[in-house]
Amino acid sequence: MNSDLFPEPSGDPSAGPGEIETTGNYLVVLAEDAVEEGVSVLRSKTGIGVALADAPDEAVVTAEELEESDHVLFPSLGVAVVKADPEQQDALALASHEESSVLAVEPERVVYAAEQVGIEPDLEAAGALAGLSPDYLRGYRDAVDGLLRSLGSSSGQAAAAAAVDESEAAWGLQVTKTVSSHFSGRGVRIAVLDTGFDLGHPDFAGRTVHNQSFVAGEAVQDAHGHGTHCVGTACGPDEPTRAPRYGVAYEAEIFAGKVLNNRGKGSDGSMLAGITWAIVNRCKIVSMSIAGRAPRGASPSLVFETVARRASALGTIIIAAAGNDSRRPVGVTEPVSHPANCPSVMAVAAVDSGFAIASFSNAGINPNGGQVDIAGPGVRVYSSWPRPTLYNTIGGTSMATPHVAGIAALHCQADPRITPSGLRNVLAQSARRLPLSSIDVGAGLVQAP
């Protein structure tokens, strides 16, 4: 794996790979609703006792405490800046994986505020005026910067996305190597279970779109847009009526099942009926950009796990969205949704064009199979939309999922005898490793054969 392919992971676009300078301190992001618990976990698991720093009127005392303690906590941010020896660094890393109250640990970077040089004297002056030590202010600034950097998904994502030339192909097709693949998904059947499809979309003229509604009283015709967008990503044409290309498996056979109504609502029953339809029609791939929030600690549905196993035995893989419940910029990471949390369903997270995890993307934090399996492009994704709009750019794990489904079809074409479990393996093994936690992105970014 070529690590030089990875973009600079920090929010500072001027710093190249390998140029990240760290202070030796660590930023510890605690769960917003469990800061106190996080503090006590830090003390018991790493021996690091953090001093409280908060309101400016308490800060004079706190700043003095800071000088003595080397560690400081900003409760309103839920971020602690700590000094850690190598043993404590390991303990911190372990705590961030095992403790729900410790969301993330990362080295404090020296260079990420572009104006740092100009700010230094101000810190001295401001500190003197307010009765705060420059160290205190520096710590606070770094904590805020750390939070802002984890925001990368909004501000940084937009900047990174702008850097990708999408005049010929959507960025998601470029980073997954779909554009250079020799495969088109020819003859492979993909079912997209969603809000239906705009059957009159000009980019699909002359293409057979098998379709079926499982919503009482509503035709397949998509009056929402979500389904048309997902079908577009998974199966859109090589040469759309207007560039850029946005579809992966442009010669796959499309099965558009409507299991969500035109207001975007649906149920387990219609989803299961759609899965059955896909199996009966020998679809090798089912793409479901449908996610129901799973409570923290919840086990997956045994009904859906049974269904996914039976589907697999009949030759059909089910690929589903990990869900969009997380709010990473404020330190909230939620577990993978139903039904993606079933062990036999492939769960897809979303990354942006800078290869950062999307701010909303759920993580593998629940037991019994609730992992993320793989990641796909899911921020600022351009694809088809019902007439008269024709195209739309949106984000979500819903958009990442049909990238994986379309690429799965390319793998099926490459190896027509591949089984669902073989397909699952090849998707994971060929994924591009990312410098991110497998809790967030599983095996990494999906890649075309």
């Binding site: 847009g225 387990d268 029953g269 989803m271 299961l272 059955t276 039976r310 984000g395 979500g396 819903s398």
Partner: protein, 88 residues
């Protein structure tokens, strides 16, 4: 519980039922037994061994004891954001 709730129509539970491996081949017979305990069957999904339907809330527990049933779950509902939302 208010008098109004007591006198109102009883809640109906939408359920999905998986049939165990030994009874996947005889889904019709399992469905008949489920009807006998009050299930109004919506669909028999033969390929995946699933029966969906509706039953009075107070009788939903009875479904679990029916021969051939491996699991009964309440049907979940899903709601996408509106079309104009930037995150889907």
């Amino acid at each position: 519980v208010s008098a109004q709730e007591q006198s109102g129509d009883e809640q109906v539970a939408e359920v999905t039922i998986s049939v165990d491996e030994d009874h996947v081949g005889t889904l019709d017979a399992v469905a008949e037994r489920l009807r006998a305990v009050g299930l109004s069957v919506d669909e028999l999904l033969v390929e995946i061994g699933i029966i969906t339907g509706r039953i009075a809330e107070s009788r939903a527990e009875d479904l679990e004891g029916v021969e051939g049933v491996s699991r009964v779950e309440r049907s979940r509902t899903y709601q996408l954001p509106p079309p104009e939302s930037g995150i889907q």
